[in-house]
Symmetry: C2
Subunit: 217 residues, 2 copies
């Protein structure tokens, strides 16, 4: 694995938001055959204070670091997986099975983090009844019943911006509490519903701005 990440990560203020990052890093180290890792190395990879890393890990796992060697990767990973609930899968669904919807439905990375995107909904008759891997594509008019019956609380919006608010309203009325929004629409939701916007073009535009700032310095 590359020695040092030069990227600055989004500010993370709670151990709850840092733990998934430790998990992701440890998983990668484990796959690369790394057996032990120090809190300093973890801190270095993720741009986090090593004291905080030790505090977070001791709060969430039973694995103790060994002097000079650090933590054993494999048991630490197993403990974190249990603590984060990644051994129990959470279920999400997606509306809008275009290019991006397909991409997300077929991405195996979600399952590694304990998330199963169980189905995609669309109103294109040509898609309905098809599958993406083992995930069915269902008609929009089945969404309400399906989401309520399964008790799904996480919805992913990959429809065009023009119909995103309508899809969002439907999700909320079915009991969805967290929406991952890939449209460019700023969604209006009740206080108890979380929205995370994933504006990919804007993300690249911000990187570009940062590159230009760096070049000018």
């Amino acid at each position: 694995m590359a020695k040092k990440q030069k990227t600055s990560l989004v500010v993370m203020t709670s151990s709850r938001s840092r733990l998934p990052l430790y998990y992701s890093l440890l998983r990668q180290l484990d796959q690369e055959g790394v057996k032990t890792v120090s809190s300093a190395t973890i801190a270095d990879y993720l741009n986090i204070n090593p004291v905080l890393v030790r505090k977070d890990l001791s709060g969430a796992t039973h694995v103790c670091g060994m002097p000079k060697r650090g933590f054993e990767v494999s048991p630490l990973l197993a403990d974190l997986k249990g603590y984060l609930g990644y051994d129990k899968q959470d279920e999400a669904f997606l509306v809008g099975v275009g290019n991006l919807g397909h991409t997300l439905l077929s991405n195996r990375g979600f399952e590694d983090l304990g998330i199963n995107i169980v189905a995609g909904f669309d109103n294109n008759p040509a898609l309905i009844g098809e599958k993406v891997g083992d995930k069915p594509i269902l008609p929009m008019d089945k969404m309400d019943e399906f989401v309520r019956r399964m008790g799904l609380r996480i919805g992913i919006i990959t429809v065009p911006s023009a119909c995103a608010q309508e899809v969002c309203d439907n999700m909320v009325s079915c009991g969805v509490k967290a929406i991952w929004n890939f449209s460019f629409t700023m969604l209006n939701v009740p206080e108890d519903v979380l929205v995370k916007n994933e504006n990919l073009p804007m993300s690249l535009a911000l990187l570009l701005q940062q590159m230009k700032s760096n070049t000018e310095q």
Copy 2:
């Protein structure tokens, strides 16, 4: 447009990183036929202090707010577009034309923000010579020459994690200064190269954690 965004945005410390957000919002308002907008409304949508909004906009544009009415959307948009350089297109390229690569190549949102993803590279013979919209898919062994000749400085990595570092090294050797990384590999780059990681499964996992925190409160 929905009245109030409940999402908290990533902390943005410079006007340079806020200006693209103003642009994106104003573009949406303009498309919806909104003629004037106050700094308070902009601030409200984006969770930013209104004083900061006025400061940012007066530094980047020649448009003055009118008492009680605010800014005229259309000239403000035109000024911001020029200031941000979105009227001059920046060019990027992409390596790995799988599902996600296809999705990004066919996304028109980039061009709205002044970014043209000019080509995709892949080593799958079945893809080479094909096009995604008007974007060619070129063989990997043409990347070096193409990127140098075009002077491209922005590379997008949508290859599997296992070959991401190799692709990154190739990009860096061609003069790339900003990498948008969709693989899960933490890339090793020289000091003067920016990396932005876009780990989509992790992004959803963090939203899920946040939802669970909220539910427990």
